[in-house]
Point group: C2
Chain length 313, copies 2
């Protein structure tokens, strides 16, 4: 089997083994791993930005690449209900690159890290044909209950923390050299982790995950790991007017951006009916005991395909 034919998630599952160690609370398969060290729950995540795949210096300033590298990892830590603390930064750089690039990249990293009180404690450098920026982030759980993908229950409502599709809309504008739409382009170039939005009501959330690969992909992960299904209401998916306008310019459907675009870094979470009045967010559907993932649109229920942004698709 060729790697191009299997999804990232499938690959990880193929190579994963059940851990032997009881201090490993969450191993491979969620947004981050969790280990118990003494009395603390330590959350570790790692993410790689590769030039040409995750960013292009045609659109991004070095500072923006640096900020993005930190924000995507903060988002992974936040989606477990944890707070980031320490970062290790590994860079692979092209030979002959100017040191000013590295300094600007680090300026972006430090500015994003500073927002969250993250300390950069180590890392290394190497060279490669493409720029590879690898961030490891270590954080701590503040409350006892982890927010895992596997914790959704039938009857839960599904919420998202903010509007979707903005990042994909921005990327499409950039790729097509469309002038204007600065605000929407910025949503792609300067994504922000959104954990602060759910932090005040964290304890009322059952399952949670960040939307890095698109709503359809993320709800599929939540459902498959929780062994449930879902019904989403297409008209309830929050999409900003500026995102719709940007989609129109390149003749795309803004809903597809929300479902399959990714990199919005909003959070998707499930909440029991009892706790619904204690949380905020956009209610977009409900968890069902029937395992299908359906979407209600134009008066009928249709199966929601998983196809999201997938590195090996």
């Amino acid at each position: 089997m060729k790697i191009s034919t299997i999804g990232e998630f499938g690959l990880i599952n193929r190579i994963a083994r059940k851990p032997n160690d009881k201090s490993i609370i969450v191993g491979i398969g969620d947004d981050a791993a969790v280990v118990k060290i003494g009395k603390k729950y330590v959350v570790c995540t790692t993410d790689t930005l590769i030039e040409g795949d995750h960013f292009s210096l045609e659109y991004y300033s070095p500072e923006q690449v640096g900020m993005k590298a930190i924000e995507v990892n903060v988002s992974d830590i936040g989606s477990m209900g944890a707070v980031p603390k320490y970062a290790l930064i590994s860079l692979a750089l092209r030979k002959g690159m100017d040191v000013a690039f590295v300094e600007r990249l680090y300026k972006g990293m430090r500015s994003a890290a500073g927002k969250y009180g993250i300390e950069i404690i180590g890392g290394n450098t190497a060279h490669a044909n493409q720029i590879v920026i690898h961030v490891d982030l270590i954080g701590f759980l503040e409350i006892k209950k982890l927010k895992l993908r596997s914790m959704a229950k039938p009857g839960d409502f599904i919420l998202v923390s903010g509007d979707l599709g903005g990042s994909a809309a921005g990327l499409n504008l950039l790729k097509n050299n469309i002038p204007g739409h600065a605000k929407t382009k910025k949503r792609h170039l300067e994504p922000k982790a959104k954990f602060h939005k759910v932090r005040p009501f964290l304890r009322y959330i059952n399952a949670m995950q960040d939307i890095s690969d698109g709503l359809a992909s993320e709800i599929t992960h939540v459902c498959s790991q929780s062994k449930v299904g879902a019904l989403l209401f297409a008209d309830n998916v929050p999409i900003k007017e500026e995102t719709r306008q940007a989609a129109l310019v390149v003749k795309k459907d803004a809903l597809l951006y929300a479902l399959y675009g990714g990199e919005d870094f909003e959070l998707i979470y499930t909440v029991s009916e009892k706790n619904l009045n204690k949380v905020r967010g956009y209610l977009i559907g409900e968890i069902t005991s029937k395992k299908d993932i359906m979407m209600y649109r134009n008066g009928k229920n249709i199966p929601l395909r998983k196809r999201g942004y997938d590195h090996f698709a």
Copy 2:
């Protein structure tokens, strides 16, 4: 300034900042970072193997690449006096690669990880033009005293845990397509962390570092961070007969392999005169208060140049 003109170490120092957080015991600049979590000292390191730079599939089997990825990180954790525990693995793979490659790579990783009781707890995959294997390793300090590069004292003896130059000799045989010399080639293809050699007498060691970039480079790090100098005795540098033979074949000086070859992953450590009878290893020199780094060879002291294996050299 172009990146090609500055060393890896210089680059890291340029971008490093003094940490604000008192729980950061060791930040950027040593083999690994150390943070205090509760009562535990947690040691974190990260290392990247890049195809064409750190390995070539012309010589290496996928299993060997996997083993090496783990061993180099174990070596970094061990050189702080710590024991590895959890790993995160991030892979960037070329499109169209066979999944069998990944499975063989993981087989190698698991076999090396298993030796040390390391659990693989997470990671991610992406694609790139070159294979990039990124390992994060988290370990714990067993005794209270960290072994840092900065802890060498004038009058200390300098020891190494085993013979040097074998890996570089093997690489040169492989690069020049020399047949035979299987044992020496294996020293390049299957490097092993050597922490077990020093673990029994860890508490008698002052400064320690692993030899990943060559003896000359490592002693320079130890001296500059400890604000001391060193005198090495060339004839005391342990070099195996098979390494000397392999060097002869390609008309190289085996001592240069030991000094500048790197990837031996033996440990270099300093010990006070009082504790010398409590440790093992090859005594190769002494720490001096005068800050020069000298080598005694053929009846005279000559300055030892730092030039080691350097990614940006």
